[in-house]
Subunit: 329 residues, 2 copies
Amino acid sequence: MTEIRFDILGIGNAMVDVTTRVEDSFLSRHDMHKGAMILVDAAAAEALYADMPPGIESSGGSAGNTCAVAAVLGARVAYLGKVADDQLGEVFAHDISTLGVHFPSARLSGGAPTARCLILVTPDGQRTMNTYLGACVTFGEDDVDEELVAAASVTYLEGYLFDPPAAQAAFRRAAAAAHRAGGQVALSLSDAFCVDRHRVAFRDLVSGHVDILFANETEITSLYEKNSFEEAAEAARAEVTLAALTRSEAGSVILRGSETVTIAAEPARVVDTTGAGDAYAAGFLTGWTAGRPLRECGRMGSVAAAEVISHYGARPEADLRAMVKRALG
Amino acid sequence: MTEIRFDILGIGNAMVDVTTRVEDSFLSRHDMHKGAMILVDAAAAEALYADMPPGIESSGGSAGNTCAVAAVLGARVAYLGKVADDQLGEVFAHDISTLGVHFPSARLSGGAPTARCLILVTPDGQRTMNTYLGACVTFGEDDVDEELVAAASVTYLEGYLFDPPAAQAAFRRAAAAAHRAGGQVALSLSDAFCVDRHRVAFRDLVSGHVDILFANETEITSLYEKNSFEEAAEAARAEVTLAALTRSEAGSVILRGSETVTIAAEPARVVDTTGAGDAYAAGFLTGWTAGRPLRECGRMGSVAAAEVISHYGARPEADLRAMVKRALG
């Protein structure tokens, strides 16, 4: 029996976000679907960047954001993901490490640069993302440290990890190692279009290997190809031990066996929705790995999400730990 | 007679800011003087960065900020400063160019990396800065494009440019070229400690070569070694054609010959004072080069400064042009 040293081990695409505000017309001009993430190659990323207004750079990546928020909330966290041996890789490693997240992944040398996500925030607070995967495409099975996986209560995988070609094998290896060690596997579906690109693989993974599923309304209906949230939620209930489904300002619904817990959204002035789902998963899993009741886990998720959407950037700025403490009374 | 193609040409240390929040105790622990800028070498910058919480990266540099804000306000702007041929250099060049600022400086290859300013923002909104000059130390006389200087109405120099060893010569060459072409030379004193480090050179430059002087209260009293703002202001009045002296929440005072114009500060909720002086100079010079009366120039400075201190980062986020239009009625 391995000693549990981490509450959460996140695995994902390690990247730096470049966030900028644009008008809706910018999205139309570039044929972008608002709210979605698309993958772009180096040339397309460069062309888009040249057309973008000035931005701010901050560490990102879906699971990376979740790990950062969970660490701020006091969870013991580790992270695996691939950055390059360059300035942006240094920024990513600094930001996650100084939060106390254990980040042992070797940096890629002499290959593609650190991944970047060009994030366009429209006046309604919606973010539209263009990801250049860079060094992330090399993340594969060999990057999964099975001892680290075995030392974590929950191994948390981001759905975006299905995009880089070598990562699906890493995904499966991590899930198998987690279960062998008696740990749980959590998955975030990340994006409805990502689900659409990899639906068969997602369905297979969810039904066979996932214990805790995070998804928003469009993602869960896309996964099960249902027309209503209710039908999709019932499909999830039948397949996973625990599903935490977020519905923006309608809050979230947590399903476990026959149990259904409904959580209200925390009031927030929406500035930038980037990282809302990541923060929800962080709050939820911090509560979950601390043995809290489902309602408190959900509340922790809501409070974390509300903080993150109230400013630019996907990582918390306020004293989130104090906010959660107040919210839980 | 050269054709005037730019209202403002800024010359300064081109750098990327890394901004993070810290408690006052962090400053004490590192023996830092709140509100000041100190220069650090590569090793000290690395050690400090390792101890800093996660940050966000954004383009900065005092004159760079001024140029960015002036361009947003509609001025025709060019900028000279040295970045390296690296990721942060690319970020700096992107951000200033996409605002429409002409930035022709060649990037440094194979030398020091792009300069970084590690900015620590305390809960009172004050910023304390630690600058690693990197590529900026190579900026010298040869980097001053005299044709570009001759094509600008105002050549604006930041006081921090006195710190890199080769830049003082560049400073003097730019001032001489501007005057030969019939243009004006503006100088921002930047920082009381910077004035202290280079008082003799500053006094010489101000009395012999500067037409428009920007300074805050501590900078102007340091320059003239006076005990009161009033005495220092009178010394400035005697030496330069125009002085615009800022006094934080007490607004600003503009002196020209026997004329004195007092401008109230714009109300603002202070989040981060980084770039307040830079933005004031931008607003002022945009008005000045458009031939506006002094009172309107000062108002434009105040409105720009108020926008910039209301959020993290030294560059405007809101529609500053509309704000100025409203303020001027």
